[in-house]
């Protein structure tokens, strides 16, 4: 077996925020009616995380559930656990109108951290990132310059960001430019 590696294999940059590609992250797209009991119970049992409300993420240890749309969750789990979690979801959802698919190798995940992390993303996205509007637990799918991305806050100074693997280098370059030393705006 060949060894799986992530899109940018832990690329890093230190500027007004630290940018890091975090490496392999297990990700499963789960589509189905999020109001349906079978979908809710499958997702929460597979991760141990509570069902998130709209535009929210809930986590439990290394796993989590990200609300992506009224009929889509992104299920987070350790990379090595994906086959097991996927099988569990598919068994629980047999007979339901739902779809679970492993997207771990089709995405790249970055961490943007530091006191100016909000500014780095605010330079790139049409999103109100003020602490009053965006806080840990909020997830937002949006446009990062020219590509789609989703991000949430792990804590008050740390974002986790997911994008398509095919644009990982573009996203890394964007984040590095937005995090250039001495480029603080000081708006938050």
């Amino acid at each position: 077996m060949s060894e799986p590696i992530s899109a940018l294999n832990h690329a890093r940059f230190d500027g007004i925020a630290d940018i890091a590609e975090i490496g392999l992250q297990g990700m499963i797209t789960l589509r189905g009616d999020l109001a349906a009991r079978a979908v809710k119970s499958a997702a929460t049992k597979a991760t141990g995380a509570a069902m998130p409300g709209a535009n929210a993420i809930s986590t439990k240890d290394d796993s989590g559930l990200c609300w992506m749309s009224p009929d889509e969750l992104l299920v987070l789990c350790p990379y090595a656990a994906v086959p097991e979690v996927l099988a569990q979801l598919q068994t629980a959802l047999a007979g339901s109108h739902a779809l679970a698919v492993n997207v771990s190798d089709a995405r790249a995940v970055f961490r943007v951290s530091g006191p100016a992390a909000r500014e780095v993303l605010a330079k790139l996205c049409p999103v109100d990132l003020s602490p009053a509007e965006f806080e840990p637990g909020t997830i937002r799918r949006t446009r990062l310059a020219q590509v789609p991305a989703a991000f949430w806050m792990v804590d008050n100074e740390t974002f986790q960001l997911v994008c398509f693997r095919s644009v990982a280098q573009y996203v890394f370059d964007l984040l590095c430019v937005a995090a250039q030393p001495n480029s603080e705006v000081g708006v938050f």
Partner: protein, 109 residues
């Protein structure tokens, strides 16, 4: 700058996070329709100065299609509503009437 609230995820979406989908509430004429109906379905569009109803898609966000009512002259947004509506909701039409008395758009007023 146009900001529309997506009725599915509730996000206040900037225009650049959306895709425009053209005129709202078109009847899709296909096989069995007359040539005139098919012609109008393909080519005839409203082009109002004032109240207008459009389809938009929250492309970079939740991905859902929805409807928006706005004023093409002032860019005022009257409201947004779900794609499953086959006509503008009455509350929205009433709200528009309060602001633009006497407005009409196709068969709606």
């Amino acid at each position: 700058m146009l900001t529309l609230q997506c009725p599915y995820c509730g996000v206040q979406a900037d225009e650049t996070e959306l895709s425009a989908g053209g005129e709202a509430h078109l009847t899709r004429h296909g096989p069995g329709s007359t040539e005139d109906e098919f012609h109008d379905y393909l080519f005839t569009r409203e082009n109002p100065r004032g109240v207008h109803f459009e389809r938009w898609r929250h492309t970079y966000g939740c991905g859902k299609w929805f409807h928006a009512a706005r004023d093409t002259q002032t860019l005022e947004v009257f409201g947004t509503y779900k794609a499953q509506c086959t006509e503008p909701p009455k509350e929205l039409r009433d709200a528009i009437t309060a602001k633009r008395p006497g407005w009409t758009w196709r068969e709606f007023s």
